[in-house]
């Protein structure tokens, strides 16, 4: 009886177990398709963040379903909600605890600019304490908007000079 086999991957005997590519392409491909979020849920945007993670919207389709509540294990901090001045130090401290490379998504009007809270208690945009890569508009943004923001961030990561950055000092 003949065993029927069909090659669906590359043939290592022919290719010699070598793939030629650019280091940037490989590193960015790995990074962008497995971004573990640090859910910085501070207000109602966090509800939409939860919706984005659940079955209807399913952020797992884009490789970001592993919400990590330890900053040591997270790649992208999603600041979802109103950042008060009292909380601003904690946000920055958690950002500092994340291992490089790391990114920040400011989700919604409050995290981006203070939103409707023009008051003595609210930080007017989380970009005053942490560097933000992607801003998402909305109050709160729909889960689709968060997914779009995540795709924008993936696109940004795919264009980074990662190999060069590995050799230079990181932030």
């Amino acid at each position: 009886m003949a065993v029927h086999t069909k090659e669906i991957a590359y043939n290592s005997k022919i290719e010699g177990e070598v793939i030629v590519s650019r280091a940037d392409a490989v590193i960015n491909w790995i990074r962008s398709n497995s971004m573990w979020p640090m859910p910085m849920g501070l207000a109602c945007c966090a509800i939409e963040l939860m919706a984005a993670a659940s079955s209807r919207f399913d952020i797992a389709r884009f490789g970001a379903e592993v919400m990590r509540f330890s900053p040591r294990q997270a790649d992208v901090m999603i600041v979802a909600g109103t950042v008060t001045y009292k909380m601003a130090g904690a946000v920055r401290r958690i950002y500092d605890q994340m291992a490089s490379p790391k990114w920040v998504i400011a989700m919604g009007a409050c995290a981006s600019s203070g939103g409707m809270y023009r008051s003595y208690a609210v930080l007017q945009g989380v970009d005053r304490v942490v560097p933000v890569d992607v801003y998402i508009s909305g109050c709160p943004p729909r889960p689709e908007a968060l997914l779009d923001g995540l795709l924008k961030l993936q696109d940004k990561v795919k264009h980074e000079r990662s190999a060069k950055n590995l050799l230079t000092a990181t932030t």
Binding site: G89, R92, G114, R118, S119, Y120, A121, V129
Partner: protein
């Protein structure tokens, strides 16, 4: 009920007066008798539930600060309001009711945080919403809504990032309703919309 409650209070403390109110009964009580009157209302008048503690800042008037208490009852639908003028306009004080209701603890801390009213006899009178070193009382009339420039509560974070508490850009706000006209024309809007964050207000 209403006549009797006022007369009961006035029998003990003649200085108690009825207070204008749109909903429940309200009484103005001299601040010296506040704790005793509250104890009387709790133990003998069945107002055994402290619902709220807050305060009023009358700005230029004297006495400037009035503490306000809302009492309810667990045996019926009644509730009443007590108000007492704080004696000192500069550093106002009031008696703490934490001995009567443990619920007063956080309410009085909030009132202290927002208005700077010190509650004598409070076991732990610290700020509850703003951070401990915050130098202002935000709900006083002389405090601007946008805030006053202040260092961040986390000093080293503020030093590292250069961020501090800046007055929020109000852009003509606060956003208020005109309170008249058709509802479609009565959306909240800025009083002065001639300037924005991009185009600063002319001096």
């Amino acid at each position: 009920m209403s006549e009797t409650l006022l007369s009961h209070l006035q029998a003990k403390w003649p200085a108690v007066t009825a207070r204008d109110s749109l909903d429940c009964e309200a009484f103005t009580i001299p601040v010296d008798h506040l704790a005793a009157a509250a104890k009387f209302l709790r133990d003998e008048m069945k107002f055994d539930l402290l619902l709220d503690v807050t305060a009023v800042d009358w700005d230029k008037e004297s006495p400037r600060f009035t503490v306000v208490y809302h009492l309810g009852t667990t045996t019926g639908p009644d509730y009443i309001r007590l108000a007492a003028d704080c004696p000192d306009d500069e550093s106002p004080t009031a008696p703490s009711l934490t001995g009567l209701w443990p619920a007063a603890n956080w309410h009085e801390r909030e009132t202290y945080d927002m208005f700077g009213i010190r509650f004598n006899g409070h076991p732990d009178l610290r700020r509850i919403l703003m951070w401990d070193d915050y130098p202002h009382y935000p709900l006083r009339k002389d405090f601007p809504l946008a805030g006053i420039e202040t260092p961040l509560p986390d000093f080293e974070i503020g030093e590292k990032t250069g961020a501090d508490l800046q007055p929020a850009p109000m852009a003509g706000g606060p956003f208020v309703s005109a309170g008249s006209g058709r509802s479609s024309q009565d959306e909240p809007r800025a009083k002065d919309q001639s300037w924005t964050e991009a185009k600063p207000k002319p001096n």
